[in-house]
Symmetry: C3
Subunit: 329 residues, 3 copies
């Protein structure tokens, strides 16, 4: 689920996003003379969630009503996409991830960058950012860090040593001890690794009402958009949820499960412990995943799967029995 | 292993547990006129570990000497159990978990509830509850939180950023950095999820002498009774132990293992890394579980198992070889 | 990769390592009259990385130029090794691990021992050891603990609630929230478990430039030598790296992976999430390990493996297909 948020509450702008400055910074050769060089853009957006007045990092061609994005700048490394964008502000780049990294690091502050600043007050034994917004009915225990831009709704319980940053949290949410919410996703370019080349993460985590998150969990913020946890979902200890994952309402996720980036999960999801999910999957509603499964493909609604690679649970049970018999022969 | 403890050192009572108030709070229709409406109960207990003068949440019929529980209140959703309890204080409810949740949230404070209070002093860089009891020979490092009711024996080392609550700790215990001990178990009703409906956890963790717990572990407190770690057990990093688990003495549990709720493990247990255990299992003495196993069934003493679902290790090895051969055909 | 470091910056000596005192402490019967009883040794070393002027715990016979170790003391429980060491200072012991434990606990302070001391100052919301050395261009966030001896290079970002001890960190390193670096390895003698008998860990973690470590990770210090992370390596959340592991440059390790002790991995390593590695393996360069693999054997350079036990990925895929077909029969 994608939500709207004001990115600059979390990640302050270093300077204005003016097309001509972006071009200079990228060192691009401009073939496209119709570019509006003086246009100031408000934000960064992804091809999944494009916005007007933003830089749209756009590789996959989508059936958009492009007229809504006349005041945007499309950056793409896909020649076909580039060509199809007639009469738009557009730049062709060799490597989209590298250009993204270059632009973000130059124009926007984020917390994998030394320039990032926050200011804290020690309130009831926790460090609370001056730029956070916490409802006074919510309790925050000891040794927590609540970062800039964070909003916490009513009647929340944030237990001890929790790091909560780059997040918007609804009402009645409980986050247990030693969990890290809103940390950096694992964004990298395999050909150019290292801390100086990581792909900046400037999205957030959005947590709906009544969510319960266990101890020692990690939930990464989105890369550009948001990671999402639906209403009434309950998450056990040591669960890892990567950037841009979206989980519907009423999920129940047992301990040590890991969900890779951009996987989208429907409502009423149940996952046993130590399950793993590949990235960019689509998991329907009312799906049950048995413990220790490794999910590598999309799952249709109302399915129950098990094993690795995960398959229909009855099929999996048959295989187990067959293999056992074979082993005895 | 079940131990005795005074629950109210950890979880203060909000009000007295008087049978008539409980009935009013549950909104029960009372068919049982012999109820002693004015009886004040001392505690809550489970069918596994029933106590006199307590509310016994009792679904599974057990061959008890019921005469020891004349001054208790049995609450059950099992009609047969209800009928068999002649001349006892008893209430029939539709859903035992929901009734438990209702009663606990009304009568007892716990740390998933906004009403829960603790008071801390900053001592040597850690927040120590005024209601804890720490032997002065023990060392507590920085940024720890030691919660109310916690007792720590002699010569313990509690390293940095450890959360230790709802726990009784013996002598010579070492708990390493960033671990969370005594956190909430994952108790929920699948038909009624969300933080407001979680099943309250009001048990503790009991850690015997000479236990060593690694870094970034989570050990959940019992639901009503206690989670238990036996003497001389050593636990590696990132191990998750769920509520009501009991582990005998001399266990050796490698990193990233997860043990689900209520599983009972004997002495001299060895588990390789990344193993997982289903809940409510009984694992004998001298059991070895190979790394990355998924244990779904009880294991007899002196067994060595491997694979998922875990089976005898020699059998497992045969299967692997057979499957490889099949793959080549 | 083994590095040189001054152990006593991290683990202060309790008393001088004089051969006669070591003998008295071990209660050894000395058959070897040529021992230089008054020799003072500087350090402890392993058979993998023996040093002159040190106690060399030496069980596996190696083709050393022993002449470089004339001023060392060899301690061994291997009779053949003992006999082969002519004209050296040497002691035969029954159990090498037990003797090591006895000696270290008596002569060297380490942080699983109550005698270990460190002194901290609260600087910008974190506890920084007076005996650490942090470049002033590096940022340390809130609630961190930086232990004695730690050296941090230029332009590092240490995020919130990080424990960093017993470590040397290069330039541009990022360590994310709630991670524990330099914690104790899981060293034990299965016949003699318990916190009082754990095998002391007095090595360090050495982190090269540009490494990025995710949130809620644990990286154990070496037992005698060092754990090593090569330049430009990036590590996701909840990854566990055990003592004496060495990882080359440009590694990319996804979430919830666990690497057991003493495994040595080459350059350009890629591991999918939830993979596990047995200890003491040798993994070549340019190796790819698919998610959820269980690696039990050495892997040659340029291999891609999958499954458990991990095998060539194409072979693994064939097996999966065959097994599925068998299941349907």
């Amino acid at each position: 689920m994608l939500v709207d948020f004001n990115r600059y509450l979390f990640f302050p702008k270093k300077k204005s996003l003016i097309i001509k400055d972006i071009i200079i910074h990228l060192g691009s050769i401009i073939k496209n003379k119709s570019l509006n060089f003086d246009l100031i853009l408000n934000d960064i957006s992804s091809s999944k969630n494009p916005k007007n007045n933003s830089i749209i990092f756009f590789n996959e061609y989508q059936n958009l009503n492009f007229d809504n994005y006349k005041k945007s700048l499309f950056i793409t490394s896909n020649q076909e996409t580039y060509n199809s964008l007639k009469n738009f502000n557009k730049i062709f780049v060799k490597n989209l991830d590298d250009s993204y990294t270059k632009i973000i690091n130059n124009f926007i502050s984020h917390d994998d960058d030394l320039s990032y600043k926050d200011e804290f007050e020690l309130i009831n034994n926790s460090y609370i950012s001056k730029y956070s917004n916490i409802h006074n009915s919510s309790n925050i225990a000891n040794n927590c860090v609540i970062g800039r831009g964070v909003k916490i709704g009513k009647n929340c319980i944030i237990k001890n040593n929790v790091i909560l940053k780059n997040s918007i949290v609804g009402d009645n949410v409980i986050i247990c001890d030693n969990s890290t919410i809103g940390c950096s996703g694992f964004g990298f370019n395999l050909k150019n690794l290292g801390s100086k080349n990581i792909i900046p993460q400037i999205g957030i985590v959005y947590i709906e009402d009544n969510v319960h998150i266990g101890s020692n969990c990690t939930i990464d913020r989105g890369r550009i958009d948001n990671t999402y946890l639906g209403k009434n979902s309950v998450i056990d200890n040591m669960v890892h949820i990567a950037h841009n994952v979206s989980i519907g309402c009423n999920a129940c996720i047992a301990a040590q499960t890991g969900i890779s980036g951009s996987t989208v999960i429907g409502d009423n999801f149940i996952s046993g412990g130590q399950s793993g999910f590949a990235g960019h999957l689509i998991i329907g509603d009312n799906v049950i995943v048995a413990a220790k499964s490794g999910v590598t493909k999309n799952i249709q609604s109302k399915s129950t799967v098990a094993g690795f690679p995960a398959t229909d649970i009855n099929q999996w049970k048959k295989q187990i029995i067959k293999n056992r018999k074979n082993g005895y022969k």
